[in-house]
Amino acid sequence: MLIFERSRKNRRNPVQAPHAEPAAPGIPQRFRRRSRPLLPEVSELQVVRHYTRLSQQNYAIDTHFYPLGSCTMKYNPRGCNALASLPGFLSRHPLAPEESHGQGVLACLFELQEMLKVVTGMQGVSLTPMAGAQGEFAGMAMIRAYHDSRGDRERDEVLVPDAAHGTNPATAIMCGYKVREIPTDADGDVDIEALRQAVGPRTAGIMLTNPSTLGVFERRIHLIAEIVHEAGGLLYYDGANLNAILGKVRPGDMGFDVMHLNLHKTFATPHGGGGPGAGPVGVGERLLPFLPIPVVGRHEDGKYRWLTEKDLPRSIGRLSAHMGNTGILLRAYVYMRMLGAEGMERIAEFATLNANYLMKRLSESGFEMAYPRRRASHEFILTLKREAKETGANAMDFAKRLLDYGYHAPTTYFPLLVPECFLIEPTETEDKATLDGFVEAMRCIRREAENEPEKLQRAPHTLPVKRLDDVRAARKLDAVWKG
């Protein structure tokens, strides 16, 4: 039932409304709205009950194992939420003067910038992008600004591996570039020959994730960097998979010129059912002047202040009305402070341990790995193409059936180049027993696929709804309730 269906005309909730008469006298008629908006007229209890019950229909990290590859669904410490939600932080207006009324929050942000420099090996960091994709935008815009600043205006191509996340090509286009896809070889590495052929004077740069979204570490990254740099291009690092290598390798040391981080992945800020995240960018020496503003600077006297156009006149500019998703930045700050150096190094270690253990157990259970000769990074790919062929139950069916077993499905059908694939990322915060349970479920489901494939094809069976008709959703668009 929709909240609107609980509504009754003229029901009121006066406890939440000011006493003022609703009319706002003095506003001339021509400026006024003619009809009341369709908002529900419900009591506070109805709201609380409706949304509490809706919430229970979600799977979430707080309720289920959620091995969603590339998304790094790990524990979001409750302490981060509580401390970022202190009244002093929540009530601060973004335009409150930073000197008299902002040193507390700016101190946190400054220290966060510094810590991110350390973990990435970059020279400068701007926190302002509001998600990974906006970080990518900022990064590619900086690459463009760099080439422009050198009068190097012919470079109109960005290289993107075929396995890349969709935001990479989409971002390149938003920055006015053409996208050139680079194929992947049989072991999941970038096809070096193809790369050599692709680079040239039109190459603005390359966008890479390492470990890639194929779950493997690109071993020849130095060679790639050499090839691209030699051609005059720059290297963009998509930091979505940083969890895999935190403290082990730094993008700056691999030869990347610019990168973003997904704080909502590596630094455990919540995904919130789709967002908000935060996508700070880090840059090497060459791109420092172009960082998006604002950036937090520190005066000689130890006071913090916003650096703006005046301080960074060659900046690519602003990406949001204020300082991006500050509340998310504070959560990541708290998380990093609780981990310290040792804790951060352990993230990569145990994310990798869990992934390799799970890969091995699934492989021993007879599932086929896409890159069996490779170590898993923090994630790995399993292909169900044999199962699909033999039983008729495909990766989607396996995924839906996993929901019945109380596991969120892994990422399916991405990356696109592996057929019937599951991209599985357990993260470091899951315990062994959970991984073992998942293996058991996968085995049971395969047995079901062999004996009664329709059970999978019609799954899920135990959730609030059965399999949904996506085609109909798109064909007969119903995105707004019409009463």
Partner: protein, 458 residues
Amino acid sequence: MPFVPHTEEEIREMLEVIGVQRIEALFSEIPPELRAPSMEGMLPKALNEMEIGRLMRERAAQDGQPLCFVGAGAYEHHVPAAVWEIATRGEFYTAYTPYQAEASQGTLQLLYEYQTMMASLTGMEISNASLYDGASALAEAVLMAVRANRRSKSKRVLIPATVHPVYRKVVRTIVTHQGIEVVEVPYCTACGNVVPDSLAQYSEGDYAALVVPQPNFFGVLEEVDRLTDWAHTNGTLVIGLINPITAAILAPPGEWGETGADIACGEGQPLGIPLSSGGPYFGFLCCRESLVRQMPGRIVGRTVDLDGKAGFTLTLQAREQHIRRSKATSNICTNQGLMTTAATLYLSLLGPEGLERVASACHDNTRRLLEKVVAIEGVEPLFDGEFFHEVVLRVDLPVNRLLERLAGHQLLAGHSLAEDYPELGDAFLLCCTETKTEADLERFATLLRETMSEMRSS
């Protein structure tokens, strides 16, 4: 180990299954020369939750809780306690994007309800499921309009100078790489809004879109009907940029002019989102149904399951980067989901009448404060246009110094316009919301009076 559940024994068992001796061995594919130095000593020492708690409480307290009359795009409203007590429930807070629809009906239904509320509030037919913030939503709206306007061959858009200055900057950052040119429409310094007749100068120009803010950055009301009709006559799409609170009273973009605006967008923060130094907020974006395929961002649709029961799912994903890649309508992926959760709770708790009361109380308070302060020597309202809940004042003293002094008294009296609108002299933008009491208004007036006379006599 913080947040890592493994015991020594389990680690041993797991390594054995994998067939390696040490965890380190799992990193063997990384070329040794790439291996990072230890971060020990380069990062602050790990703190437990108690220690970081104390530090954060100190930091939060450090910034004080001044009485705040700053608006300028971010507004202090009462947020019902239920909003965040529900929104931070783990099931909302720690879920991913609802790609597995059957396991995400909570988030999906909520977003469908959100879309319905926003579409209705803006008077449009379709809403997406959020963008990052108001400024970037405007940039996406501009990109969308340029894509959508088949009649216009140009990539030029008109943006009045009465649009939030930072929004205009953000639009520039985001759209210029695609060759889009932003043309600034001047405003009347007497009335504080765009004079409709002045648009005649652009009639020959082929513009893909015109942005119309309501109320504008100065709090002044634009002649939205005439601006909209001018645009449509000239084959230009109209992007309405609004404050969703004021939309409870003011005509929404869908009602502007003969046929309504084509796209509506804005900052969602006023709908239950805390000020929080500027974010996370959320951008909303609504449009006519005919433009939906140009819409960036996620959209939730209602459909049926195998049993014919209604359910919800992400739809029209072929617009999005994860399907369409380089041909997507935008690169946006992660959006501001949790903020729309809060906004949906907020709008449900307030209802149509409650929201109207909020808007009306803001405006009443601003009017009452205005009366008090214009009685002070050296203070005058700058514009004679109609305003809504925000107003520009001119003072006969250096405005930045005045505001700084007042901040010293824990009063944030407004936002200085000196930097962005030097032509206006010593002016600042003042905003009242429903949170202000008569005593607060008095305190403002008294402090302003006293501080101004102190400044004069010193």
